[in-house]
Amino acid sequence: MKIRMLFVLVMVLALLAACGGTATTTGGQSSAKPLRIAVVMPSATTDLAFSQSMWSALKAVQAELGGESALELQYSENMFKVPDAAAALRDYASKGFDIVIGHGSQYGSSIQEIAPDFPKTTFAWGTDVNTFGLPNVYAYTAAAQEGGYVNGVLAARLTKSKLIGVTGPVEVGDAKTYIDGFVQGVASVDPGMRVGKTWTGSFSDVALMTEAAKTHIAAGADALTGSSQSVVGSIGAAKEKGDVLWFGTQSDQASLAPNIVVASQVYDWSSILKQMIENRKNVQHGGDTFVLQLKNGGLKIAFNRTYPLPDDVKKAAEAAIEGIKNGSIVVEP
């Protein structure tokens, strides 16, 4: 027993010593201090999809504002476990970051828990539309169904086997809306065309995504699309088969497979970020919902220049884009 007591005593002493350790300062804001933004993401900043879209936007805004001295950025990537992400969000807030972004629809409940504890911090999360009625929470989303529609039009016109495959992660957020739009786009060209959908149940499980893609291809699909950071698996499977076309979203995915990527819908979050920064000057920390659209320039369709797209198909796609912009085509999420 004595040894145990000694052990506990040593630990208690260590505890006391640690109490006197370094404390982080959360000082007030002076005009010379840079603005500080932290972002928590479910995958790598180089995932050529969801996370990369936000990180590129942040870097672009940073460059525009004048570099690191004007805007300090910090990120936590690969936070696909929600409790870990929650700890990171809370940590950033307690360290006095001005804007804390939870970039992932799985982070909503964490933001809901943490935001009330830090009323002076701006929180933002997406893709979703719920600000929980909290004054310091922004929600942002992308009208992914718009680009989905355009991709659907392209896929329906280019498929030879008349079977299209969709590899989805979890049926939520922009993953769901993108695919809804895609299906409508396909139907607008050929209402009878078959679109097979699979949901892996995970945003991050790339291996499952690969299996799903391979199954679609084995069933005869020659055009594939999908959403989330795990699509690299689907793209890999399509690339391996050689003649399966890919339609991307969230970021420009042409570099992953230059010969088979036809087009990608690209998210541009920078206008939203700038709005949030602007609002802080008027002491507004939240309450709004932002939506990226083709109309407001938040969404863009990037055609892969390496892929030989027939003129008539391209014209059909551009007509679809115009139609959505001017409201003549309505895509329901």
């Binding site: 790598a44 690969n78 097979g196 699979t198 892996t200 149940g201 790339v206 391979k214 199954t215 069933a219």
Partner: protein, 310 residues
């Protein structure tokens, strides 16, 4: 439903099933060899992960898939030596050290992946190789004889393992060491040496399981790629009664249900995906429950052997 299950779909499901069974076969047969000698190795999943990473990394950077496969096997042997040292020489509690090995393999593979590769990338993996003549057989031809080389060797392992275990003196020694180590010892068999070899062979096969996963099945590496497949393999050993044929049946059952639910989703059959994903595990438990009283494993399993004590 019956219009959907065309023969084309059936072929598709079975082809996927054969492919998906591959890592289970390697890992479970390897674990069976280890357990027959008396050592239970719960670290299989961790070994698979580290080997999958090693194989993938080498293949990614050298472009040579065979070199990658070799790396996977070698990583397996290295981990096996570690496990053998701790379980056989140090006579530590096997279950816990297996878990420690699992945590080590899981952590190290993630660490190395994040620092040396960073984001998920794909390679062009082992491609299917058609066996002439046999692959022209109706139905069976496409399902069995148009797979990649690691898949073929996984299935060839089954009769090979059976032969070694039942028809060679080494197999006899292995079983003796696992059933009655004291008797084997008195007959001059070095219990420790046999167990070391068994554990290392088992781990090497686990290494091949991991490599087949990252180089022949999904052709990529990500954190926790195996998602517990190693533990399922350990269960399959029990399921199959420590016999290669039983393990083959178990692995096929598991992977067929898996392939089935994937195809059902693709074809739009309305099974909620969560139920579908659960099916293989549920089936495992059901079968486990039925084989419970029937099967007896190696008597000396999970008992470190010491001279002069029994």
């Amino acid at each position: 439903m019956s219009e959907i299950i065309t023969s084309a779909v059936l072929i598709g499901i079975l082809t996927s099933a054969i492919r998906l069974a591959t890592p289970y076969l390697y890992a479970a047969i390897g674990e069976a060899i280890s357990e027959i000698s008396g050592v239970v190795n719960l670290g299989v999943d961790g070994i698979m992960l580290l080997s999958a990473y090693g194989a993938f990394f080498v293949a990614l950077n050298t472009g040579n898939l065979w070199l990658g496969l070799l790396t996977g096997a070698l990583v397996g042997v290295a981990m096996g030596l570690l496990m053998a040292f701790i379980s056989v020489t140090l006579k530590a509690e096997q279950g816990i050290s297996g878990i420690g090995l699992y945590m080590f393999g899981l952590g190290l593979s993630s660490l190395l992946f994040k620092t040396t590769i960073g984001t998920v990338k794909t390679v062009v993996g082992f491609q299917p190789v058609r066996i002439p003549l046999l692959s022209d057989l109706p139905f069976l031809g496409e399902v069995l004889f148009d797979q990649s080389l690691p898949v073929y060797s996984a299935f060839l392992l089954v009769p090979l393992a059976w032969f070694i275990l039942e028809k060679t003196t080494w197999g006899l020694r292995l079983k003796a060491v696992g059933q009655t180590p004291a008797a084997a010892d008195s007959l001059g068999v070095s219990v420790d040496r046999v167990r070391y070899l068994a554990v290392c062979v088992g781990s090497m096969l686990a290494g091949l399981a991991g490599a087949s996963l990252s180089l022949a099945l999904v052709n990529l590496f990500q954190e926790n790629l195996t998602a517990g497949q190693g533990f399922i393999a350990v269960a399959l050993v029990y399921f199959g009664g420590w016999r290669p044929l039983g393990i083959l049946l178990g692995a096929l059952l598991f992977s067929t249900v898996n392939a089935f639910q994937l195809w059902m989703q693709v074809l739009g059959v309305a099974i909620p995906s969560d139920v579908a994903v659960m099916l293989p595990y549920l089936l495992t438990i059901v079968v486990l429950a039925f084989t419970v009283s029937r099967v007896r494993g190696p008597a000396a399993l999970n008992k470190p052997f010491e001279r002069g004590e029994h």
